[in-house]
Amino acid sequence: MREMYLIAMNEIRVTVRNPFWAFSGLFQPIIYLLLFGPLLNGVAGVRGFPGGGNAIQFFAPGLLIMNALFGSGFEGFTLRDKLDSGFLERLRVTPISRLSLALGFILQTSLNLVVQSILLLVVSLFFGLRIDPLGALLLLALIVLIGITMASISYRLGLMIREGGILAGIVNTFILPAMILSGIMLPINFGPPLIQAAARIDPFYYAVNASRALIEGHVGDPSVLSALVIFAVLAAVCLAIFIRGMREAVA
């Protein structure tokens, strides 16, 4: 436990020392809020648009999921740097357990995501977002599960793939369709049946629906339970895969 904490604290210190850390993570979501939000306002009145015709209630919860997806999906690159600089190697010859090492990185990613999500929620308040407090807490839990899932996959890939460009390609190949099919940008029920069917196999579709329900305080909405269960299972599986990767002697 102490080891995991030491690793996470070291990583947080490194993150916070980057003068752009908060900005770089939040830049994209805020641009979306500023530029895409008003565009959505125009179509929010269209019949069938979820969120009761209110664009920000529709869009901000999606952005939170998107931030979780992108914020943790590229963590593999930071691990790549740690391999290249010898930092990870130096830690691996100390008596720290591979479990603590892996969990330390995951803890850092999770804390970082929680802070970013809270900042994003606060910013969204200024755009008129109404937030249910209990729902928001559950949403943060969901975001952490997403973060663990994505960071674990990304870290595991980072351990395997030496070439940064290939890593980026793989990550983007999965993240982009996952994001579009989740209905973050536009409601999936606007799409043709094929897209709607494809969305059903995208775990992020459930996460985005749950996020919208939670912001409104619909804690009992079926999407909430399904999203939490899906990502609890995915987080557990992916974390196990990452920890196993850490245990095998890699690079």
């Binding site: 070291n10 210190r13 490194v14 020392r17 010898g86 190697e89 130096r90 100390t94």
Partner: protein, 327 residues
């Protein structure tokens, strides 16, 4: 040799999957080593010889695919965790976090060895004082020069008072002063009783630091002994003689023909190299022979063979023109 060696290996090997399917690369083959407590032991070889792979196995960074080993009294395959408590390691890349200060890096490493914060702070202060790091200890390591970084890496490597310190190419890429500084500190650690295992492709480094050296090539040990013993494998000493005029050199060749003192003769630009058994005794005799025969040399240089000459003799290749590092 001491009763319980600090490193003992039997037929240790590491096989990697090759680039092509089904192809395998034996980076290390049948490594049998015994390193005594308190010894500075060197693995010397060109890039790609397998010395880094061998070291990475011994310090628990790579799992061997063959054989067995004990390090600091613990079994390499079943007690890696115990081994990590007792060893220090300074890799080629160092491993400092760039945006943290040297002191912060040391603090993290010390705490990972289960030191309390106060205990760690005392240890770090002592190290910073002894190694004279105080002027830059509180700057981010990204601002360090190569030499400063390497001394900090060394401090990190000994933060846990290891019985055995692994150094992977400790002076690669350093300027001569920094290299001398690193050697000085390594020798000081040796005097305090630390056993040291070092890989290097610098012959001078192996010669200057090591009690014993194993020369490795293509994953195998090709020679093992003290630097002096290894150099003895090359017949005696080398006398390099040069002349003012080519006629004199030709005359000298005739004069030395059949001379029992000259074991081998190799022509060089303006003279020749003579391999002799005992250089200090042979030199005056040869000079007299040359002088009396009218082939007095312009200059004479007596040298001992270098480890490079040993490598050349054993492998038929020079250390400088061998391949890429594999792992």
């Amino acid at each position: 040799m001491a009763a319980s060696p600090i490193i003992h290996t039997e037929k240790l090997g590491k096989r990697f999957a090759g680039h092509k399917k089904g192809e395998v690369v034996d980076a290390v083959r049948d490594l049998d080593l015994e390193v005594a407590k308190g010894e500075i032991f060197g693995l010397l070889g060109p890039n790609g010889a397998g010395k880094t792979t061998a070291m990475r196995m011994l310090c628990t960074l790579l799992v061997p695919t063959a054989g067995k080993a004990s390090v600091a009294g613990f079994d390499l395959t079943t007690q890696a965790h115990e081994i990590r408590r007792h060893i220090g390691y300074v890799g080629q890349k160092g491993g400092m976090e760039q945006v943290a200060t040297g002191r912060e890096n040391l603090m993290l490493h010390a705490q990972l060895y289960r030191m309390s914060k106060a205990e760690a702070a005392r240890r770090i202060d002592a190290l910073i004082g002894r190694l004279k790091l105080s002027t830059f200890a509180d700057r981010k390591t990204e601002t360090y020069s190569g030499g400063q970084r390497r001394i900090f890496d060394l401090a990190s490597g000994v933060i846990n008072h290891p019985e055995l310190l692994f150094l992977d190419e400790p002076s690669t890429g350093l300027d001569p002063q920094s290299r001398a500084r690193v050697w000085e500190e390594v020798k000081a650690l040796h005097e305090q009783g630390t056993s040291i295992f070092v890989t290097t492709h610098y012959l001078e480094e192996a010669d200057a630091l090591c009690d014993r050296v194993a020369i490795v090539d293509l994953g195998r040990i090709v020679a093992l002994g003290t630097p002096a013993e290894l150099k003895k494998q090359i017949a005696g000493d080398i006398i390099t003689v040069s002349y003012d005029a080519p006629e004199r050199a030709e005359a000298a060749v005739k004069l030395l023909e059949g001379n029992p003192l000259v074991l081998e003769r190799h022509a060089i630009e303006d003279g020749h190299q003579l391999y002799v058994d005992k250089g200090d005794e042979a030199l005056p005799v040869i000079l007299r022979t040359l002088g009396q025969g009218g082939a007095a040399p312009k200059s004479v240089h007596l040298s001992r063979p270098s480890l490079d000459d040993v490598f050349l003799k054993l492998t038929g290749r020079s250390m400088r023109d061998t391949g890429e590092e594999q792992h």
